[in-house]
Amino acid sequence: MPEILLQDVRFAYPGGVEVYPEPGLSLSMGEGVTALVGENGAGKTTLTKLMIGLLRPRSGVVEVGGLDVGTVTVAAMAQTVGYSFQNPDDQLFERTVKAEVAFGPRVLKKRSEEIERGVAWALRACGLEGKEDVHPHDLGLSERKWVAIASALAGEPRVMVLDEPTLGQDYPSRQRLARLVEQLGLEGRTVLVVTHDMDFVGEACPTTVVLSHGTVMYAGPTSGAFEDRSMVKEAGLEPPHVTALGRSLGLAESVNEAGFLDAWKVQRS
């Protein structure tokens, strides 16, 4: 059974046009790490807000972690789904990093030992140890993004949705993030990464969904996501840098650095 299931979902903002055209958006995702990519305005962030119950579809079905989003409360969804906003300042309001990260599980009335465990795990996973007592707004954008991610992790949800997690991140932070999402995937969680960062997609996300003008253009292994060049162009995407380099050398298609080096070694031999 898929962890995330959307069937014929229709939605429009007040006074706005339909985000997902007739017959509506249908999509299913299983465990592991999936990238959701597409041009600005493709409907990516709307999709994530539908998944956590912040928005309600006009019609169709949204199920996440076995829950019908249309029939359960946002609080119930929060038990299952952790969400990190594109702009961390939309999410952070507590006076210390620790209080911020503990807020979700505390509101969910988890037991204190569960809260302590989840918060400690999230702080460690996000490189925030030693910053527990800092005011989140005294941190730079990169670290505020990490606080937002840690807040989403602390409730140890089955499903994680990370909106533009590499925003403002330097290379070591991107590597930390890649390791974190890989680990979450290996633990059997479902991680959806909404991003414009195709290098990160190639390195960290085994599965990719391409959305364009509210329609799913591709859903499958990331290794095949950039092969259809006209679709990629239509969706306003560029392939990862390694893919571009591999093509210029006539190598077999690769989407990450290890794949490129393997293909290059094969060509040389």
């Binding site: 594109q86 403002g168 330097d170 414009h196 995407l237």
Partner: protein, 278 residues
């Protein structure tokens, strides 16, 4: 000799009540018409460098400033930010920070700066139309700024900046929320401005982008300048490789054991991997 757009002379700065300096002993000279990329890990002092160049530090943020920051020959201590904003424009890392909050339409938001400077109505209208066209948001003119997506808001913030027609643009990750097509379109706008003599200082984590666009890179670590020069030199500098990171092409050449100096751009990388000694 070309005019100096921006000079940092022995600059150290600490935010109010901060125990440590955010930048230390920075000396940089940027000529008019240059396009400079600034990069470095988190907390390197990149955004602070922009705030100092704009004069927001120390005028808005307070704090302790040593040394001098001159934009077009004028010391930031003596020039109010409102006056500096007719020559220098800063695009914040987070576009939500840039929006005035006082305007309910996108076109009015773009007009806000020129209006504050007392420009005539026809001049304001002309600038607003041109700036919105340049960044591709004409169709959003009647929308409320806070109803826009992150990418649209980033374009709006840039349009508001361009409407001021600054001679020096300070851009803190100007395309971080844009899709690849939108990013390419914005860089085309910047290339056009650069061709017309506008000086650009651009903070960016995407090293591949910097190497393609900027003839000069300043790499910062822990508030200090670690390297300053052409991208090929900067990213073949051992300390930069260790402390800042590498463009993907450079990293691949290193991991493939290609002989140095390693390439930093796609075209050079293709040649390096095709080389018979590769």
């Amino acid at each position: 000799m070309s005019e100096l757009a921006l000079v940092f002379d022995g600059v150290s700065y600490a935010y109010e009540e901060a125990p440590r300096e955010a930048v230390s002993d920075i000396s940089l000279s940027i000529s008019s018409g240059e396009w400079i990329g600034v990069t470095g890990p988190t907390n390197a002092g990149k955004s602070t460098l922009c705030l100092l160049a704009m004069g927001l530090a120390p005028h808005f943020f307070g704090g302790r400033l040593k040394g001098s920051v001159l934009a077009f020959g004028r010391d930031s201590r003596t020039v109010p930010v409102i006056e500096r904003s007719s020559e220098v424009g800063l695009l914040f890392q987070n576009p939500f920070t840039q929006i005035s909050g006082a305007r309910e339409r996108v076109d009015d938001e773009v007009a806000f700066g020129p209006e504050c400077h007392g420009l005539s109505r026809p001049e304001v209208d002309m600038r607003v139309e041109e700036a919105m066209r340049q960044v591709g948001i004409t169709h959003l003119a009647s929308r409320h700024p806070l109803d826009l997506s992150g990418g649209q808001l980033q374009r709006l913030a840039l349009a508001a900046l361009l409407a001021m027609q600054p001679k020096l643009l300070l851009l803190d990750e100007p395309t971080s929320q844009l899709d690849p097509a939108g990013t390419a379109a914005i860089f085309e706008v910047l290339a056009g401005l650069h061709a017309r003599g506008v000086t650009i200082v651009m903070v960016e984590h995407r090293l591949e982008t910097l190497c393609e666009l900027c003839p000069r890179i300043v790499a910062m670590v822990a508030g200090r300048v670690l390297a300053d020069g052409p991208p090929d030199d900067v990213f073949n500098h051992a300390a930069v490789q260790d402390r800042v990171g590498l463009p993907v092409f450079t990293r691949l050449a290193r991991d493939a054991d290609l002989p140095g100096p390693w390439p930093v751009r796609l075209a050079d990388s293709t040649a390096a991997f095709e080389s018979p000694i590769a």
